[in-house]
């Protein structure tokens, strides 16, 4: 054990607490601003607390806009994407780890290389392709390009490589087909990695902003992050409404995080995923 120094420990604790409070400050700001009236924000009254709490912002978000519909769209697309990504990553990872075929190495490197590409770089071609497929303004356009993940394939390959070959051979001896092998033997062995991948895929698609912004037009087809820009008018910003939308969007994510916190942290340290 370290030599304990009470004073030093106390000081460090104090600094940490101050830093933690600073971390919470933007949340407090967000919630308090959402309760102000727009006039109060714009007129520049220098106060932190609302002079009169008003739920007007929330009312606008929930009643004047199809916010429930957006939540639904976000939930459906994120769930489908997550499920599909887990499946395709495990499948491709298994093949790259435990099978050999011509061009395997090159293919794997190509898939890895796509990880490096910033999305803005390929956005226009992706948009044109999506349009050619007739998917503009369809929720399918959000789902389809995200069904596979290069990082998912990479992770799955790394983890499946650790599974002893004997185990798979034994199962094959018993007459298990490849798919059965994957679901019954491999999937349980890489469950921790899969849950990490699942959580982060879900978060990323829930938070995705740029692609839906470009591809979706219909108000009824939008996903939640678009709500933020939706309430930003041209010359007049409805701060309280935007803040209310931000609160409503952040809440479910925080709830999910608090529930799965352990798996989150474990998965993060294990996979280094972002």
């Amino acid at each position: 054990m370290h030599r304990r120094n009470k004073w030093l420990d106390g000081l460090i604790m104090l600094v940490l607490i101050v830093a933690a409070c600073a971390m919470l400050l933007p949340y407090a700001w967000m919630v308090l601003s959402s309760l102000k009236s727009n006039m109060e924000i714009v007129s520049g009254s220098h106060t932190f607390l609302p002079s009169k709490a008003s739920l007007e912002g929330y009312r606008t978000v929930l009643v004047d806009a199809p916010f429930g519909r957006w939540l639904m769209n976000s939930a459906v697309t994120s769930i489908v994407i997550t499920a599909a990504t887990l499946f395709t990553s495990a499948l491709a990872g298994y093949i790259f780890a435990k099978h050999q075929f011509k061009g395997q190495k090159l293919l794997f490197i190509l898939i890895l290389a796509t990880m490096m590409i910033p999305f803005q770089v390929i956005m226009i071609p992706t948009y044109l392709i999506t349009a050619k497929l007739g998917l503009v303004n369809q929720l399918m356009a959000i789902i389809l390009p995200n069904l596979v993940s290069s990082y998912g394939v990479f992770l799955a390959k790394q983890f499946i490589e650790d599974i002893p070959q004997d185990l798979l051979d034994a199962a094959r001896m018993d007459g298990a087909g490849e798919l059965r092998l994957m679901v019954r033997i491999i999937a349980p062995l890489i469950l921790t990695m899969l849950s990490a991948l699942g959580i982060f895929t879900f978060m990323n698609s829930w938070n995705n902003y740029l692609w839906p912004l470009i591809i979706l037009n219909d108000e009824s087809k939008m996903t939640v992050p678009l709500a933020l820009v939706y309430f930003n008018g041209t010359h007049m910003v409805n701060y309280n409404v935007v803040m209310s939308a931000a609160v409503l969007i952040t809440l479910p994510v925080i709830a999910v995080f608090l529930i799965f916190q352990k798996q989150f942290i474990k998965g993060l340290t294990m996979t280094g995923m972002k």
């Binding site: 044109l128 349009a131 529930i259």
Partner: protein, 429 residues
């Protein structure tokens, strides 16, 4: 532990469904079921409450008159609207009808993406020249302007502030304007607390600069769609403009690029005179609920009449690719009738682009603040064939700031502006 987690997930899903249910109930009656044999048109516009309400009204009127047509109205925040339009036209999946800013239109019309509006000769006499410029290509019209985008000629003033400083009337000459502005500027240490004459906004720097060239009988377009800012007129105009910030110190750059408009600062009482288009009056009346201001003419830079450069403003176009092109053009024609435009201009607080509407006494009666702008409409000159509107304005604004803060000499700055803009013009040929 696991059960608790499952329960909480279940609870969240239930909540989502519950909210969805409520939200859908309230929305249910507004979404019409699509029936067979109907002509469906998609109409895009940018988001601004007054505009959206005005469009919605025209759309429902049109649908009532044409039961076989239904119009799907979709709106986008201004920040992404231009990009969405470009993306959709590039991918050949554009809306049938689109609201476009006049200066954006040439890029589309010269690539054959927009439908021609019939009867161009007749229409050209019915509209003012400046707003029509962007929509015209080789003598044909590809869309019609709804408004005359006029940032020039008028400014917001607080008469009380003028009186406090012993100024009885709004300035009548440019020299008076500068002198008054100096009097009206209130300082708090080094900072300006109330600006005397604020023109530092994304639109007004450029418009004021170009108009000051015109008012000296100068020109800023050279050959081959290139700009020419190496003229004595341009020099003089830019020097006078940068002086307002650098020497006269009646405005500063602190609010430039913030999320609020210069008019917002005006209505908050942070400037005595603000150069801005008449559309800002609506914000004062409706958002700030103030009445202690006036909208008065800005004097000419010279003794010439205050001619000014103007843009085509918002208008509507129909897509050439649209399967319902006829219906789309018909809607544009319907919307451009005198009565509909009158109602539209009145409720959006915009300046009419059509002569008959501007001359209608009804219009002035409902928007008395418009008088200043209406009086000078025929002095407007089309800004010219700008290939990339945002880039053009940004270039002038950026260099203006450099010149005003002394980081660039006016002469050098104008050279740089000219070079940068002409390169962009060449890229778009």
């Amino acid at each position: 532990m696991r059960i608790i987690k499952l329960c909480s997930v279940f609870a969240i899903i239930c909540t989502i469904f519950a909210i969805t249910g409520c939200a859908n109930d309230s929305k249910a009656d507004s979404s019409p079921s699509s029936s067979q044999g109907k002509v469906k048109l998609v109409f895009w516009s940018h988001q601004e409450d007054a505009f959206m309400n005005a469009y919605k009204k025209v759309i429902s009127d049109y649908e009532a008159l044409h039961p076989d047509v239904s119009i799907d109205y979709q709106t986008f925040p201004y920040d992404v609207y231009n990009q969405k339009l470009k993306a959709s036209f590039s991918a050949k999946s554009p809306p049938d009808i689109a609201e476009m800013f006049g200066t954006w239109v040439p890029e589309y019309s010269k690539n054959g993406l927009l439908a021609e509006i019939p009867g161009s000769e007749q229409l050209q006499t019915e509209y003012y020249e400046a707003p029509l410029g962007g929509y015209t290509l080789n003598g044909k019209l590809y869309g019609l302007p709804l408004e005359f985008n006029i940032e020039n000629g008028g400014m917001l003033i607080h008469p009380e502030m003028l009186k406090e400083h012993g100024i009885a009337n709004p300035p009548a000459t440019w020299d008076e304007l500068v002198a008054d502005a100096k009097l009206l500027t209130v300082r708090d240490g080094k900072r300006i607390k109330v600006k005397g004459f604020d023109f530092v906004s994304g639109d007004n720097i450029t418009f004021t600069f170009l108009s000051m060239i015109l008012q000296q009988n100068g020109k800023y377009w050279g050959e081959d769609d290139h700009v020419n800012f190496q003229t004595p007129e341009a020099q003089k105009a830019m020097s006078a403009l940068t002086d307002l910030v650098a020497n006269d110190k009646v405005a500063d750059l602190t609010t430039f690029g913030g999320e609020l408009d210069t008019s917002d600062y005006f209505f908050q009482g942070r400037s005595a005179m603000t150069y801005r288009g008449p559309w800002t009056v609506a914000a004062g009346l409706n958002t700030y609920k103030v009445k202690d201001f006036e909208y008065v003419p800005v004097p000419s830079f010279t003794t010439n009449p205050p001619s000014f450069s103007a843009e085509s403003g918002w208008g509507i176009v129909a897509s050439e690719k649209s399967k319902q092109q006829k219906a789309a053009v018909d809607f544009i024609t319907y919307m451009s009738s005198n009565d509909n435009l009158l109602a539209w201009n009145q409720s959006t607080f915009t300046v009419p682009a059509k002569k008959a509407v501007a001359e209608n006494p009804e219009f002035l009666k409902s928007n008395p603040y418009m008088k200043t702008s209406l009086d000078i409409l025929q002095l407007g000159k089309w800004i010219g064939p700008i290939a990339d509107r945002d880039f053009f304005f940004k270039t002038i604004n950026d260099h203006f700031q450099l010149m005003a803060t002394g980081q660039e000499a006016v002469e050098k700055g104008l050279q740089n502006i000219e070079k940068t803009i002409n390169e962009s013009q060449d890229q778009h040929k």
